[in-house]
Amino acid sequence: MSATIDRRRAAVGRLDETTIKRENENFEFHRLLTPVLKVPAKGTEARRRIARQLLLPVIRWCKAHADKVRYCFVSPAGVYADVHIFADYQEYDEELGTSVAGLQIALSQAGVRANLLLDAVDSEYPLADLLTGTAPVRQVYGDPL
C-alpha cells in the first residue's frame, strides 16, 4: 500500500515538474511576444490578446488551408512575431501566397506586428534553420516535429 502511494506521489511529482516547466515556457514565450502588440499590454491582458489577435487567427488560417499547409511556427523577433508557414507545393503557390499576405494584413489591422513567411516543405534551408537556430520558436500547427 505504502509503495503504491509512493509511486503515485512520484508520478504526481513528475507530472507537476513537467507542468511547471511547460507553464514556465508558455509564460516566457508570451512574455517575448508581448512587444508585438501595437497597443501595449501587460500580464494576463497581454497573454489574452496575443492568443486572440495573433495565435488563434494564425491557427484558424492554417486549419482552413489544411490541404496545403503542413507546419506553422511562431518565433518572437523583437517587436515582431515571425510566422513561418510551410506548405506542400512544387511550383510556388500564388493563391496560397496571396492568402498569406491577406492574413498578414488582417493581423496588422488586428493590432499585431507580424512577419509571415511562406516556404515549401522541401525548401532546402528555412525549416532546418528554424529548428536548429537559437531563436525561441513554437510550433502552432501541424504534426509535431
Binding site: 523577433a77 515582431y80 507545393y89 512544387q90 511550383e91 510556388y92 500564388e94 501566397g97 496571396t98 498569406v100 499576405a101 491577406g102 498578414q104 494584413i105 496588422s108 489591422q109 506586428r113 512577419n115 513567411l117 511562406l118 516556404d119 515549401a120 522541401d122 525548401s123 532546402e124 534551408y125 528555412p126
Partner: protein
C-alpha cells in the same frame, strides 16, 4: 535616408539591369532584381510620407497599413526573391520555371506594382 527621387533612380537602374540580363540564363537573379525594383517603387510612396523602413519587417508592416492593395502582389514577389536568394538554382527553378519568371514575376507582378505606384504618385502630385 533615401528620398523619393533616389528611390526612383534605383528603380530605373534595376530596370536597366533587368533589360540587359539574360533572364533565361539567370532567372534567380532576374527575380531578385524584379523584387528590388518593386521594393524601391513602393519606397517612393513611403518616402513621400516621411517613412524610411530599415528592414523587410518594418517595410512589410508599413505596406500592410498603408498600401494593402499592392501588398499581396509585393508579398508574392518577396517570397519569390527569398526562394531565389536562399535556394539552389534547381530548387528555385522547380518553384519558378523560367517562363513563369519572365511572364509572371517580371511581367504581371511587376506591372501591378508599377501601375499602383504610378497611380499613387499621380494622386500625391496632384494634391501638392
Amino acid at each position: 535616408m533615401a528620398t523619393r527621387s533616389e528611390h526612383a533612380t534605383k528603380v530605373v537602374e534595376n530596370k536597366n539591369l533587368l533589360a540587359a540580363l539574360d533572364v533565361d540564363r539567370w532567372p534567380h537573379w532576374a527575380t531578385t532584381i524584379v523584387f528590388y525594383t518593386a521594393l524601391h517603387s513602393l519606397e517612393q510612396l513611403l518616402a513621400e510620407a516621411g517613412l524610411h523602413p530599415q528592414n523587410h519587417r518594418q517595410r512589410n508592416e508599413l505596406l500592410t497599413e498603408l498600401h494593402t492593395t499592392a501588398f499581396c502582389t509585393y508579398y508574392n514577389l518577396y517570397m519569390a526573391s527569398r526562394h531565389a536568394r536562399y535556394e539552389s538554382s534547381d530548387s528555385f527553378l522547380r518553384k519558378f520555371p523560367v517562363t513563369r519568371v519572365r511572364n509572371v514575376v517580371a511581367g504581371s507582378w511587376l506591372s501591378v506594382i508599377e501601375k499602383y505606384v504610378e497611380d499613387e504618385l499621380k494622386r500625391i502630385d496632384a494634391g501638392n
